[in-house]
Amino acid sequence: MKAEHFTVRQFELSGWPVRITSYRIGTTWHAKADNVSPGATIATATGETHWEAVADATEKARKRLAATRRFR
């Protein structure tokens, strides 16, 4: 068993740079969203398809990032 179709994509979400790492292990797709810097995992998700896992992780990350307060 190996991680297949390993991909990393970076984009902006709720004003924060976010990185989505996705791969398939067996029949399950995994997606993890982290906040690039410092690199902490914000959300994880699994799905039967690549799209399902990435969309779920992205939506969970969006909600959590939107709650981050900035003090300026």
């Binding site: 068993m1 390993f6 924060w16 810097s37 690199g39 995992t41 914000i42 981050t68």
Partner: protein, 281 residues
Amino acid sequence: MANYAHNEVLVSTEWVSQHGADAGVRVVEVDVNTASYAEGHVPGAVGWAWDSQLCDTVRRDIVPKDAFEKLMADSGISNDTTVVLYGDNNNWFAAWAFWQMKVYGHADARLMDGGRVKWLAEGRELSTDTPSPAPASYKASGPDNSIRSFLPQVSAAVESGSVELVDVRSPEEFTGEILSPPGLPETCQRGGHIPGASNIPWVKACAADGTFKSADALRAIYRDAGISGTKPIIAYCRIGERSSHSWFVLKYLLGLDNVTNYDGSWTEWGNLVGAPVSRGA
């Protein structure tokens, strides 16, 4: 491996692939996301949970000595076992485990360079089997608090200016723009940093594939940020795991002797009544 001060504390994914199952070697995964291990891990690797097995679960502290000894023994680790640690987030909590193993005197601990993400990206073999190693006998030494800083030492150092403080959090945490990494719970009352600290985010030590940068590159990063190494260095972050990573870099990759990890970090300092706080860059 690059020309580090202590090359012996790093192994490559290829080395683990070749030697991870050797007698006398135990591979251990320690993740931020404790569910990652169950997805699939290095075959034969034991999984440790940082939030229950590498801390005191009652008071805030590192794992107690007797619990550490039991964890080692249950993991099939003897005092002379070569322990190879790896994990997600570029080895954040693998470095945390490494630091605690050194606090308790384990001789041969190593990190797998690049951590979990490199193993996955390279398409290496994974297993979902949870190994049941034969229990071993383990006797910890220490604790060696020469690699750990506590609040009184940090407070005294701030007043005297006798140390170099390295804040390894993100610039936004350092300046006080945010109280915790985006997307994570706020766990301090005030934002900012300890007066006099230099901001050198831990991630600067890592290349794109998660491996550590060369010794020359690492040296330049710290030198350019004003860290000379002529004074004792105290590294801190939010809860002490990212600073374990930077502590590892400073002590083992760059070979600086007098480096400590302040694991109380910002969740201690940023909650103190009356402690001095600096804001901005």
